[in-house]
Symmetry: C2
Subunit: 342 residues, 2 copies
């Protein structure tokens, strides 16, 4: 099949290339009969515009805004680093990425920040969202103003965001439960549960997914009430030490949030590293070492590099009015054991 250019279409439709461009990009000011003629020509030639040429001709920068929480955890630090790397890399392709930091827990502040963005300032926004009514409203308003919005890592399900670049946290929790149940085959006892904050939707969802599966499928395991570590290692260590003291029959720990190094330390200091199954989230320098040592038994992971690249790709595709490859943008729930660590 030969490749046709916009010139070929223009000739066939008996109009100029400018008009072809107008109907191709849904620009206003073309009479209906002209539109029809052009569309017929496009169809007849099975014309596909050349994206490369279009991008060169537009010669304009894509401006994307990333709104990230002040990095508290090592995971968020990785997200920041990946955004910086993408910004660096994409600058050679005329993409300008700017980053703003915001307090994770302040929905009103996040909403205000979104409200201040106009279509003149940015073509797209990616944000680590907070599931809060004001944020949902702000996302919808921003979308209505013509700015593409992608949620990153943490979603706002009811909103009109274009895309969510992150994992299904409920499935992640269920996956953790199945690993826990399998690794504790034949044993009965109690399982400790840690979360960073019960105000974060992703943590809650993991917790619920985990509890649900354990309750239904592993009746020999009793899950203790969740403890809030505030994603802090020192606090995590204290709480884990206390947990070990209070529950001699403890055989498993699942941490849906941060502070994993503290829990690792508590397990190792108590000499219980090997006999307690510990499942944590996110590969970091510390967690990977603990996994290799055997203190952590499995890590559930989402790939921050993939998430950030995916957010950028989706925003670019939207700006170019081009399709995305859905399969490529699905963020995996990775399970890492010692031998398949990246």
């Amino acid at each position: 099949m030969a490749k046709f250019t916009i010139q070929d279409v223009a000739r066939r439709a008996g109009v100029s290339v400018a008009t072809i461009d107008r109907v191709l990009n849904h620009r206003p000011g073309v009479r209906a009969p002209t539109v029809a003629k052009v569309e017929a020509a496009i169809r007849e030639l099975n014309y596909q515009p050349d994206r490369i040429a279009a991008r060169l001709a537009r010669a304009r920068e894509y401006r994307f805004h990333f709104i990230l929480p002040v990095s508290t955890s090592e995971f968020m630090t990785r997200i920041h680093a990946e955004v910086e790397e993408a910004a660096q890399r994409m600058s050679a392709e005329r993409v300008a990425i700017t980053v703003t930091n915001v307090d994770v827990f302040d929905g009103e502040a996040l909403a205000a920040m979104l409200d201040a963005i106009t279509a003149e300032q940015a073509d797209g926004v990616a944000l680590v969202a907070l599931d809060h009514p004001a944020v949902r409203e702000a996302i919808n308003a921003l979308t209505a103003r013509g700015v593409a919005v992608v949620t990153l890592v943490s979603d706002v399900p009811g909103s009109k965001r274009l895309h969510y670049a992150g994992i299904d946290n409920s499935s992640a929790g269920r996956t953790a439960a199945n690993l826990m149940g399998r690794f504790l085959r034949g044993l009965s006892g109690t399982v400790g549960l840690f979360a960073g904050s019960l105000a974060l939707r992703d943590h809650i969802e993991r917790q619920f997914g985990f509890e649900q599966v354990v309750a239904h499928e592993y009746p020999d395991l009793a899950v203790l009430p969740v403890r809030e570590s505030r994603d802090d290692s020192a606090r995590g260590e204290e709480m884990a030490a206390q947990l070990l003291k209070d529950h001699p029959d403890l055989i498993g720990i699942y941490n849906v949030g941060g502070g994993t190094p503290g829990i690792v330390a508590a397990l190792e200091k108590a000499g219980r590293a090997k006999d307690i199954v510990f499942i944590a989230h996110e590969v970091t320098d510390a967690s990977r070492r603990a996994l290799i040592r055997g203190t952590i038994d499995a890590i559930i992971n989402q790939d921050p590099g993939h998430e950030v690249r995916s957010a950028v790709r989706v925003l670019m595709a939207k700006a170019d009015n081009a399709p995305v490859i859905a399969e490529q943008e699905r963020i995996r729930i990775d399970i890492f054991m010692r031998d398949n660590l990246p």
Copy 2:
């Protein structure tokens, strides 16, 4: 930092843009002092060429050849489908992908096919390789002729291929062993081992990785000698049924190759689906259903879509003389359990 164009560099170096282009793309015929001047100007301006413009100007098609085994397994069928999809998608970006089928086991035929390819016909070749001396030679010769070679799914480690788009199969086998050992906690018994063919390097590597870890870390498990299913379901079913009959103490099965549906059938017919831990490779319609039913306990997977897209990206980057994002091209060893299936 302002964006400079090739014009800016030309002005600065006091030469024409044609000369800048020559040194930028390492074309011959520029005197050393001129090269030096141009390089200085590039450095001083921190000039980064615009890939988009370059691709448009080249106005030439990229031609990539994919050499795939006649699809015997469902996995290979997926690889074929993904290549077709990529061909379709990339045709809008001036990339012409052609596919040739070849017999997997015939190293000489594969080598002959590679030998017939010239730099005039193709910019790059991706092949599911066979670890055979003739193939290695052919890959090296092809590379020397200026054609970029990427191995896909199955590698030829000693060769000069540009890149391998696939997983580390030895790690995959070790990962399977650890899952098996963990899932069989507290039990002792025998574990059956199936491979498609012992002539395939990936199968052997998985097998060795598995045996090694079980021997070292799970002394209560005895791995039986490997059986060759030839990736055939009917044969797999027969062999699994025989295995169940011969070994009443069988508690686990690891299948490194194809033919999984046959093994699933044997387990279910024998009523042993639930009490035998079965670990298989590759998510397919059949294996995913068996995983959900609980007959399969975990699937080790490599993502064919990712592998094919990665091969294409690496070949394109080479043709454009552009960098790749290493992290993005690493193929994961996926572990799937019921809840994190894609």
